[in-house]
Symmetry: none
Subunit: 201 residues, 4 copies
């Protein structure tokens, strides 16, 4: 594949991302993508066989971008609380700006593929979140920042809440302070109340 065609493929992926973010997964057609990219029908088929292949490519690119964000930020962190809050801040952003996120498209895709794929995207995203939070809480326990009796359960609880807020933000109204309240409430059980504000969210 030439340099030019790599560029074009990336362009298609980026443009298709907007389409999926706006319309979800199920109802997006090859024509929608063709129209959004302003390329020819045949042109799209040179790069992708069908809508699903485009979507999977979009997801892959999304994952890569997300990983880079977290990895890039790590060096600047000096406390577990800050790390916890940074992570939640990223999730909050996705909740508040849900209209630009792929969430609904991913949910739809999982629902369609239910039973077919072993490692579903949402589940692994959730699992990664839990694993990450759990490590942060354990580290915080060690450093004396946190007081969690069961880091895994606390980690899961936070992720359940964030998932709930994500979906609610797409189907109804969720304000910024709703999210803040929920986060404060969630971490209350293992974060001593004098450990500094959470208003950096």
């Amino acid at each position: 594949m030439t340099d030019k065609s790599v560029k074009k493929k990336q362009f298609i992926i980026e443009t298709a991302r907007e389409v999926f973010a706006k319309n979800g997964y199920k109802t997006v057609t090859m024509k929608d993508i063709v129209d959004a990219c302003e390329i020819s029908r045949g042109g799209l088929y040179l790069y992708f066989e069908n809508v699903e292949q485009v979507f999977l490519a979009v997801l892959e690119a999304e994952q890569k971008k997300s990983d880079e964000t977290v990895t890039g930020a790590l060096p600047r962190i000096d406390s577990q609380l800050k790390l916890l809050l940074l992570f939640l801040k990223v999730l909050k952003k996705e909740i508040i700006h849900g209209d630009k996120s792929l969430m609904m498209a991913i949910y739809e895709y999982c629902a369609v593929k239910r039973g077919e794929t072993e490692h579903t995207v949402v589940q692994s995203q959730f699992d990664n979140g839990v694993t990450f939070l759990q490590r942060v809480i354990v580290d915080g326990n060690k450093s004396g920042e946190f007081l969690s009796a069961d880091p895994q359960k606390d980690a899961k609880q936070i992720m359940y809440i964030m998932e709930g807020l994500k979906i609610l933000s797409r189907t109804g109204k969720v304000t910024s302070s709703d999210v803040d309240d929920a986060i404060v409430n969630a971490v209350r059980s293992f974060v001593p109340s004098d450990s500094g504000s959470t208003d950096t969210l």
Copy 2:
């Protein structure tokens, strides 16, 4: 409308419910419903103009059924804790048997109708849940069963968690004990630990 056609309409609604539970909202066609009901194309159009009208009728029937469940159970309840647990039990059932629930269809419908309807179905379902839980917690505070500093926030928190579990149950694996753990964890902050088991879930 004759007695017979009322029966038939109900039959269509019940059959369509299965279809929506299985396939969500977006991809369901009039033909899908026709095929599931084993009636003629024109026959379906006698009762419903389009898929959305069928879906709304399904939702309405669902709501009615749900209301009856709650109303029917109320007389047998003698403590706020029991009431709380009964309510969570109903939600748990929907989470565990998610494949038979309309949740994903409702999410999709809300996403499609986003911005159009003021009080979306999911939001009002969520709000009703919060309102109900809040009242239970307040009553529990009065009776000394609970110790909640902020009943509304606690109520919301529980609903966020349940929403998160609902969507996760559809896109990945959520076990019965995952739900139990989450519930215990959620009510821990305002339910004294000696107030009896939650194993009735």
Copy 3:
């Protein structure tokens, strides 16, 4: 057929007339007639096999009514000029109030049935008009009221003009004075200019 069913059939014919006058012939469906009559689908089929049969019944009723109008007026006429003007007045009415006439429906029906029926409705209506006018002119010639060299040609000419005005009134704008002018112009060639006004139109 009982007395009641005769009434009902007449009611259907009258109501269907409105429908044909408004919508022409081609696009009128049995459903349109059923809806207009507010009777059941099956009910209409008891009286008429299909749209064409309804239309023919409407035409027949129309013809009868029209005949009665002319026959009823004849006794009161004492001059050929008055008779001529009465006839043209009737035609003018149909031209000006074209939206309530069956003209377009009839044209459409003839176009559909082209070649099938020997004596088409329009043709016979036209022929009847020519025959009538021709007799009036001949009689007027005898009585000295008119001076026509070729009564048949003059009769035809008038009917051509009226047909032209009829169709133009349905597809564009034709004013009352347009019709008056045309009539005056048409009869000029055989009516002495001092024979009295034509402003009774």
Copy 4:
């Protein structure tokens, strides 16, 4: 649009013209056109959105062809009478070969669109005819060929007659000599009888 697709569009327009000439406007379906053109369903939709768009394209093409006919003939005309007769000859052709003309389709289209469009096709066609004839008569008056007291009324009268003949030719029988008679009769009032034969019709 490529050269090839221009050709195809023209082919569709020409083929559709036959369909409209044969069946009128109302009952013509996209399928009729598809079948006549022997192209695929989707293929037709590449060029036209619906039947109306096809019809309007047919009308436009027809207008262009008609304009060219008149413009092409003008240089060869040296007297107003010849010009008058040429014009009537064109109309006569449409009357006699009515089965190949779009007349009925146009009437139907106007009836359907009644009230929607300001300048209906038939009306403007009629107005153009009147304007043209009026100018010819006025010029003929000046050159001494004609003796018309009211050129506009005479022009209108001729057009009424031709319209009447047109519609009659579609719904019944109109012979070539019927048309000739009518024309001779119509121009008699302002064309001196010694001004040469009209047998060139």
